[in-house]
Structure formats: C-alpha cells, structure tokens
Symmetry: C2
Subunit: 418 residues, 2 copies
C-alpha cells in the first residue's frame, strides 16, 4: 500500500452569505451551495496544477444539505464544476461535522487501492438559509434522534453534558470553568481576526469588541453572552457558517513527480463511538478521539512531541479542552489550566487552532474537516492563510475533526515531504 499526499487545496471565504429582510423575514441567498461548491473545486484543481480530466474520483463531505439547502446528491452536483469531471465516479460522505474528513479517508482508500491515481475531496455546507430554529433542528438530526433530538436535546445541550461531566470528574467550579472556556474563545478570536477567510475576521464582531483576552470575554455583559445550555454560553458556541474547502490528493509517488508542494497523509485514525450519549462510558473524555489519535500516530510513526501545529474541533469551547487532551497535548483534566497559562498560542511549541478554529474561522459543518486539512496544508507548504507559528516553518500538523457529540472521531497526521 503506497501512501497518498495532498498536492493542492482551496478554502472559500467563510461567512454568512445571505440577506435577511427583518420585516418580511425573507432570506435571500447571496452565495449558493452550487457557487460555493464550484469555487472550491475549481480553486483546488488550480492550486494543485491539475485539470478535471486528471481526477479519477470525487468525494464530497457534506452534513445535511437536504435540510439546510434542499440539496442532497451533492456528489453529482460537484462534477459540474469542471468539464473533465463529467462521468467520473462521485460519492458523497457524511458523518455529521466530520463529513469531509471521512470523505477524504474514502478517497484515500481508493487511491491506496490503485483504483484512483488522483482524487478530489470537497467539503461544503450552506447553513444560513435557515432560521436559528431550523439550524438547531438540522444539527439535532446528527444526535441520536430517538433518545436525544426527539426529546428536545440540542447540540449545546449535548456538549453541556460533557462540560458538566468534566467539571465533576476533575472538581472544577463553575467560575473556574468559565475562565478556562473564556481563554479558549479569546484564543480563537485572536487568531481568527488575522485569518482573511474567517467568518469572524478583521472588522468582524470579535474584532470590534476586541475579544482577544479572557478578561474581555468574561467582561461581555450577560445579556450579550447569554446561557445557551448551562454551563455553555453564546461565546462558547461555534459559528453558523456557509463555506467550502477542497483538496486534491494523489499517490505520494505521483505527487513527488508532479508537484513541488507535497504534504503526505502520513497517518489516519477514524473511530466511531456509540451515537447515544446515554450509552457512553463517561462524559469527561473523548474516548473515540483518543483511539483515533493512537491509530493515526502509530501509522505515522510519531508522538505528540513531533507535532508542530494542530487544528482541533472546537464546536464548543469545552470540546477544545477534550480534543487537546485526546491528542495528548495536555494531560487529562489539565487542558483548561494549560489554556489559562497561555499554552497553544501562536508562540507555543504547538499552536492549536491558529486558523481561529470553528469559534472564529467558522463552522460550515460538512466543510470543516476539509478546511482543517486545507489550512494545515497551506501552513506546511509555507503559504499560511493568516497567522504563522512564531517558532518557524512547521513540518508536521495534526487535525482532530469530530462528528456529532464525538460519535465520529477523525485524526490525520500531515507531513511535509517537499
């Protein structure tokens, strides 16, 4: 089995691309799911220096486009982006918010099997055509509907259960947790404002409010930072975002022959935990994430000490703590303290979410995995979008992309070859 490498990638602007009429409540689409798709596919092909005809298969990660945008069958839609893609095999994959990581993995298997030499992977989501209520419902279908969604459980509610479990396990007071989480969101806001593609970028709300320190986040008046699902507040939640990202992968052998910007997918881990949280062993650690990390690191032959940069799944600030521990960047129960001590900033040994993360870059759910891989690819080939790590050019990056309430856990180790 020969490995595969990324040779090009593209991330669209992330944001809320709709116009909402306050009087009529009408929502006008300013950038459709079709447009996001075509831009990302064309951008990735161009970045990789290949054409549609060079692609042997297309994989599309998207979470719930039928609910968000009335459009299932997105794989068939994507091939219209380039005439050379017509008649190629195209497959949509979904594992909630990890949809485009699993799409990448299925593309990887096809390349490793020898069926495809070169494959295109797209992640896309158009979320803002719905009202908040509609978005909440669409996301809730990614929980176990029978035991969770149907009983009114929302995603903030599910991650609130993790927050409470984490507090109970490690004896963390409400006040202390609030401080920890404020450090996490402030770090995201600080990094994101320098990412030109971020939903909350320069001139955006977090920039205007200067939410770049935990103090600033803690000082937001309660009415502007209301409790969504205790102990999680508005500023603990990631953004509802429209966006897309795409990558071109090929055999490492071919990559080294045709490209000067080669990042190998050195190891992957994909582990699914039981969907219903009532069936989990505990609510204070990401067991599936730890398993995925072990698999990916073993395949890549690395330890966490080798990692220069990590993009992790901060759908809620509490989950950034769990991800940081799952990767082994913090000891269990210590991530909150580590963030309070200022670890994982751009100046650290291993910056976390230098892109701004889901909190600030935005979280177009099905696009998030592809976006994580895209932004790491760009960092690793020395063309960072946004902030660079202070310590110098990174060589190895890691993604931890989570689907639902960590029912899907995907870890990739990306390694620059040239």
């Amino acid at each position: 089995m020969s490995k595969a490498s990324i040779i090009g990638a593209y991330n669209t602007q992330f944001g809320s691309f709709v116009k909402k009429n306050r009087e009529t409540k009408e929502i006008t689409d300013l950038k459709s799911i079709d447009e996001l798709t075509y831009e990302a596919v064309q951008g990735a092909l161009k970045d990789a220096g290949v054409e549609g005809k060079d692609i042997d298969g297309v994989w599309v990660g998207t979470c719930a486009p039928g609910l968000f945008a009335n459009q299932e069958h997105m794989a068939a839609l994507a091939i219209a982006a380039d005439p050379g893609l017509r008649y190629k095999p195209a497959t949509r994959c979904e594992d909630a918010c990890a949809s485009s990581s699993v799409a990448l993995y299925d593309a990887l298997y096809a390349v490793e099997s020898g069926r495809c030499k070169t494959a295109l992977v797209l992640g896309v989501e158009k979320m803002n055509l719905l009202t908040t209520k509609g978005v909440t419902h669409a996301l809730a279908t990614c929980s176990h509907w029978e035991s969770e969604g149907a009983n009114g459980m929302t995603f903030p509610g599910l991650f609130a259960e993790y927050a409470k479990g984490y507090q109970a396990q490690y004896g963390i007071s409400d006040e202390e947790l609030r401080k920890m989480l404020a450090h996490v969101s402030a770090l995201g806001y600080k990094n994101g404002v320098e990412n030109p593609l971020a939903h909350f970028g320069a001139g955006g709300p977090s920039d205007k409010m200067k939410l770049f320190t935990a103090e600033a986040v803690l000082n937001i008046p309660d009415e502007k930072n209301p409790m969504i699902a205790a102990p999680l507040r508005l500023h603990d939640c990631s953004l509802v975002t429209d966006g897309a990202a795409a990558l071109v992968i090929t055999t490492t052998e071919n990559a080294l022959a045709i490209s000067s910007r080669v990042v190998e997918i050195a190891g992957i881990g994909h582990s699914n935990e039981l969907l219903a949280i009532k069936d989990r062993d505990n609510m204070y650690e990401m067991i599936g994430g730890k398993r995925a990390k072990d698999l990916a690191f073993k395949e890549a032959g690395i330890t966490i000490a080798d990692v220069d940069l990590a993009e992790v799944h901060d759908c809620f600030t509490i989950n950034q703590l769990l991800c940081t521990e799952a990767l082994g960047l913090s000891k269990d129960g210590r991530a909150g303290y580590d963030y309070m001590e200022g670890k994982f900033t751009r100046d650290s040994e291993c910056p976390v979410n230098i892109s701004g993360g889901l909190k600030s870059k935005g979280h177009p759910v099905g696009a998030t995995g592809a976006s994580m891989h895209t932004l790491l690819y760009k960092q690793l080939v020395g063309e960072p979008i946004g902030v660079k790590p202070s310590k110098g050019q990174p060589e190895i990056g890691v993604t931890l992309n989570v689907g639902g309430s960590s029912a899907t856990n995907c870890v990739s180790v990306l390694k620059r070859l040239k």
Copy 2:
C-alpha cells in the same frame, strides 16, 4: 490489488411499517430506522458467520434519513447493532437512490487498499413517516434543486422527460409506450408476489388485483391508475418503502478460506452524469449507465452473454427500458419490444428483476443497492429469496443501480466462486 467477495447478506422484510390514523393524520412508527438498521446488520453478520469484532469498517448507504426520519449520522447509529462494532470506523455514503452501491464501493476500496480485511455494508431507508407531499419533497432534493426541485419538478416529472425523449427518438406512440410499460410493471408484479420479502408480496395489492399480465395492468380503470406525470401513471412508479439490507465483504483470499458461500465482486463501474437534466446530451439513453457497464464488464472480463441474472433500477417503468438497453440486454430502442415479446421473464436466458424489482419488491431508496446485491448473492449461492431462474443455477449476476435522474450510475458484476 486483490479482489473482494461477499460472504453473507441479509434483507429485511420490505413494506410500509407505519400506522396512519385517518382522523388525526397521526403517523405511528411500527418499525423504526434503528430497528431496521439493527436487524439488517445482525442478519448479515449471522449469515456471514462472523461477529462484529471481525469487522474492520462499516459503510452505510442511506439517501435522506434526515428528511425522512430526522436521523442523519446513520453510520454512528449502525455500530450500536453489535458490541464488536463499537469504535470501528463507520461512514455514511449517499448518492441518492444509489447510496448503498456507492457505500459498497467505498468499502471495497478499503478492503482492496489493505486497510480493512472485512467490511460491513448497510443500506437503509425509512420513508413512510412522511406524507406523500413530504416524500415527494425529500426525493426532489436529489434532483438539481436550483433548476429542477425549486421549480416544482418532481421525480415522476424527471423520468417523464426521459419517457418523452425515448418516444421522440424511436417514434413510439403514446399507446405503444403504454403497452410496453404495462409489460414491465406486470413482470415486476408477477415476480414480486413470489418474493416473501417484497412490499407487494403474496396477498398484497398486486396479488389481489392479479396484475400479472400487461392486459391486467392496462385494464386498471384510469381513476385507479391516474396520470402522475404524463406519460407516466401510478403503476409506472415504484413503491415508497421502509427497509434495509446488509452485506459482509472480505478479501477473496479470506473469503475462500473461511466461507463456503463466496460471491466475488468481479467488476464494478461507477459513473456520474451531470445532475441537471438540462445539461444532458439527450433524454433517450442512460449514457452514464452505459459507461458504468463498460467499466464493470471490462474489469470482470465478461460480455452481456455471460450474465445469468440482472437486477436493474426500475424506479419508473421507463427506466427499466433504459437500464435494459444500458446493460446491452436489448439494443437501443428495442427494450420495450423485447419486454412485449416476453423476454427477461424467469424462463429467459437472463431474467431481469426476478426479485420483483423496485416496482414490487419496493424501493427504500438508500437500501435499494444493498438489496439488489443481497438478492443476487442469495441467488448465486443457491438460496434464492423468491423465484429461481428456470434455466438453472445462475453463476454470474449484474446490478444496475441508479441515483436520482441517472446522475449516479453503478454497475456490479457478481460471480459465484463457491
């Protein structure tokens, strides 16, 4: 690249498993998507003689479970079917009504890559919780929403365009087409009534009405066979069905070592056509289906003369004509006449849809691909569910599973090894 083989498969009963209260309009679920999933997964494991712990990855094909049953993230749900599946990688795939064929292909790539020795593939859909209007909307999201669904185009409407294109190309009158299509539906009804798992099985509507000849279908009064989208009538449409099917695949080497019932996936073809029908070259042939057939037959090293049995995608009767031509069982423009001449019955050289097809077995959209492969597997290992071919034990079977308006086209060649 070593090939993969099927070593076990299971198909649930197909049907409409809800109770509808005529007064309150309330719909009660009698067999949930969870139950369908668990039954199929457990059944396939048992049929293959393996346990969950032996499975290295799970792929789930389902079309629009978020719209039909409020449940996305079906891959994470499926692993609850067996304790040994917990923490395994699980991925949902979707290409409209070809969702579980593309799930099978992604599983196949993982097996061929060496990442998985043994994989489980599930297809599932729970459609009957919605009203007809809801089902029509959910299916319309599998068309190109912007140019089709949003303008009121439905799936009967899309296939009516193919019917009209076919008539125009080959000079077929309305009356003649109606006869051709009546032969197709009668054949489905006749076969289906002997399939104990069929939605329209023994004692069902087609049995009560004895719709086993074209004459019987043509004699249905217009009010009981209304025009849905001219020239297609109610009895040209497949059924809205709840159901699931699952398969276990493994390397052929392992299959031959551990199983006495081995059917190799000898060749596959997967070709995606542009989603919007306005962008197609013509409306009288299944170009993507022909390409998929060419790829699959080339890989398997066969011609159509070698095929003993075919399951094709009769979502609408007109599409059975197009599928029959795409596989080369009929010459272009001749399938209707061939059906009128009684070809493709159980007594023919190559029976088509001996299961009853989507018209009579039923069409739980995301489950259909897995069901086609399951029923062929059972035929090829000499354990047919329903009617057997009269000419004796089949050795080679072919599936043609279509997604949407033939935007996805999947052909598999299955070959009994022992």
